[in-house]
Amino acid sequence: MGDSDTSFCVSTLLCQESESCLNEQGYEENTYIDVKPYDCFVSEDEEDEYFENLFRRETCFGSKGSSALDDYSDISQTWLKSARLDAVEWIFNTRAVFGFHFRTAYLSITYFDRFISKRYIDRGKMWAIRLLSVACLSLAAKMEECDVPLLSEFPTQDFYFESNVIQKMELLVLSTLEWKMGSITPFSYLSYFINKFFGDSRPKGLVSRAVELIVAMTKETNLIDSRPSIIAAAAVLAAFDNQLPRKIMELKMSVISFWQSDDKEHMYSSYNLMQEIGKRKVKTPELSVTPNVLSLHSGSHYLNENISYNSAAGTKRRLTFNESDHSSPVKKVHRK
């Protein structure tokens, strides 16, 4: 994204997919939404088994846990929330630039959220947020995409990072996440749930609406707090009808054998959140998010400084940056 306009609107995320290529026939050709993880299941049983296994694996990646957002003081929390939003926007914009799958962008946000649940980033260090975003997206692309851009090709906008700095950050993310990079995304479940819920009578455009909702969700909630399968199910149902009576939802959900009652409760709250998102969208079709921190400053900042990560009290580590000993090559962030 060359332009500095970072105002963000969900519908632009989908601009490259016409409705027609999101319908059933279009799955195969569609580059961006590849909802079929694996279409070689021998039988329906095998398919069920696959998704049950996937569901069980979700918990390996720290779904449901306290996030950094909970631990920060109010001021830090506000900053981190806005910084996270900025990161999410950058990730989706960059996804569009490179033509990555949505699942790749989503995956990188799960990395981001897991990272900040384990380490502190000092308030105001927008460049650290951007560096983290680049590393997370690059890692996700390496996991999911066939063509991965060079590190130098990532549009870092207001910052400049040398490739080896990004690589260091990649290593930091990998080790912080304990190399557990196979986080599961809601996109894996989409076609399975659509098939389970609606069979052959699936409404047109359901996939693209569900994708839109999943994308919107990433900005509302830390992904550590929610299970990908639940988000997928809520998105499919909300995309189908955002006024569903609870009875109908229960009925739909009963076809999935691996959900417990707990999971169903989470599903309802996710559904409610998506209802909200849907209503907001009706009011303001161009759902745009308040101009964020990054759009407030401009100019290139050259980053090539020494950063050390010291242990902090408690279980988390603080990212600290010893700029003081050097004439910092990073320009101070211009704030209005």
């Binding site: 260091k168 304990e178 090539n304």
Partner: protein, 482 residues
């Protein structure tokens, strides 16, 4: 261990920070736990070294350390490394190599994986029988190897992991010790969880031997299924029986992903041509349509599989083999089904120690793996050229039994072993993740630039002691990957 974070590790040039670990002479933390013995393999993705642990309790335990080749400048951490480590972190099974540790050398950002060391592999075992002892591998050993291989594969497949590159040199067998004769599936560089993107192998710049490649892939199938691994197992099974590769096609070297007609031809010669009747989805495979005349123009004078493997048509072994070499991937036997096969219920029953038959069978003394002691962790060869192992050296390894040396896995004399101490390494233990990467320093790279990390080590390099007892083979540069 290795909680670098508490020490605020940074690169060596960063004198402002405590705990600088660069060329200041501090021993890199993770390397302090190992004695480097030498290089044992070299593959597409890097080098493999043999080392021994020094930590009390595990002292002297052999460890294979795989060093990933540096990715190209600007690519960042290699996708192969990420995927392999990610997969290995998630899997635990007796018949799969165990990843003990991941170490990061922050100075040049290289990655080192530490595995439990396996002394043997099927490539060496087959070769030993073919070239040295000149008799077939014992039935018990073949069956036990196959049984364990299938067990490991069944585990992988039930976790939705496809290996994609099974071949004899990737199937390791533990040497002397508690786990003697236990099969370990290795080299997950190409393995995928079903979901992951399936890039054609050729585009990865990866050269995979085509001899074990399933027909659907040779015909251009885009989707990999676990059945591709079972085809490879069938090829390996046949090779264990006959000591030579079953389908030894000549590879067409071109990019991307050329049509391997000769390999298919070799398969057809043994198994006959596939037909749409037996393999209905054949019609959808790209090369089948495009090259139909080419493929079908070849005369179908198949000799029959049983003739090749010298098995009676009605034997359970032959039945199992032919089910693994079923053309239609959907009909091909699965690992779970294969484990249920009659073959494994007949004497001799498969056992945990594949190398030692339970009842007083004559034990074959397999050679230990050749180790090139002239290469350090940087992959730098010492100024002394690697010396071919002299005939005198061969004695202790080659046909050790015949020379009255007890045990198949003669403890390697430690003479001349030099420890390499590359500088600037920090490590972490996967088990104590809280501290991982605490010492990272994303901004700190430039300070290591321009410093030749090898300069110091060059002085430490010693040539191999010519008196070392090594295997009967001259050091080889076989393409091996862990």
């Amino acid at each position: 261990m290795g909680d670098g974070g508490n020490r605020g590790l940074v690169g060596s040039g960063n004198s402002n920070n405590n705990g600088g670990n660069g060329s200041s002479g501090n021993k890199p933390e993770w390397l302090q736990h190992y004695d480097l013995i030498g290089k044992i393999g070299e593959g597409t993705y890097g080098l493999v070294f043999l080392a021994r642990t020094k930590s009390p309790g595990n002292r002297g335990k052999s460890i294979a350390i795989k060093k990933f080749k540096q990715s190209k400048d600007g690519d960042g951490v290699s996708p192969t490394a990420i995927r392999e480590i990610m997969l290995l972190r998630e899997i635990t099974h007796d018949n799969v190599v165990k990843l003990v540790n991941v170490h990061i050398n922050h100075a040049d950002m290289s990655l080192y994986l530490a595995f439990d060391y396996a002394e043997h592999d099927l490539y060496e075992i087959i070769r030993h029988h073919r070239d040295k002892v000149n008799h077939a591998i014992h039935q018990y050993t073949v069956k036990s190897l196959l049984w364990q291989l299938l067990n490991g594969l069944n585990y992988l497949h039930s976790n939705w992991i496809i290996h994609r590159d099974l071949k004899p040199s990737n199937i390791l067998v533990m040497g002397e010790g508690e786990e003697q004769g236990v099969v370990k599936i290795a080299d997950f560089g190409l393995a995928r969880i079903y979901q992951a993107p399936l890039k054609p192998l050729a585009e990865n710049g990866v050269v995979v031997t085509i001899w074990y490649r399933a027909p659907e892939l040779l015909l251009g199938a885009k989707h990999y299924t676990s059945a591709v691994d079972m085809w490879a197992v069938g090829c390996i099974f046949a090779e264990l029986l006959t000591l030579k590769p079953l389908f030894q096609g000549a590879e067409v070297k071109a990019t991307p992903n050329p049509f391997q007609l000769d390999q298919l031809d070799k398969i057809f010669k043994v198994l006959g041509h596939p037909t749409l009747e037996k393999w209905p989805t054949l019609a959808n495979l790209p090369h089948w349509q495009q090259d139909i005349q080419h493929i079908q123009g070849h005369n179908d004078n198949s000799h029959g599989l049983h003739g090749f493997v010298h098995l009676p048509l009605k034997s359970p072994a032959f039945d199992l083999l032919s089910k693994m070499l079923e053309y239609d991937p959907r009909k091909r036997i699965t690992a779970a089904q294969a484990l249920e096969h009659e073959y494994f219920r007949l004497e001799p029953l498969p056992g945990r120690n594949a190398l030692v038959p339970s009842q007083g069978e004559k034990v074959v003394n397999y050679p230990t793996r050749p180790v090139d002691t002239t290469t350090d962790f940087e992959g730098t060869t010492s100024l002394q050229p690697s010396q071919p192992v002299s005939s005198g050296n061969a004695v202790s390894g080659n046909m050790a039994g015949a020379h009255g040396v007890p045990g198949r896995s003669v403890p390697r004399p430690m003479l001349g072993m030099q420890r390499m101490q590359p500088q600037g390494m920090t490590g972490y233990n996967l088990a104590s993740q809280a501290g991982i990467g605490g010492g990272m320093n994303p901004g700190g790279i430039p300070m290591q630039r321009g410093v030749n990390p090898q300069a110091h080590q060059q002085q430490q390099l010693r040539r191999k002691d010519p008196g070392m007892g090594m295997s009967g083979y001259p050091p080889q540069q076989k393409q091996r990957r862990m």
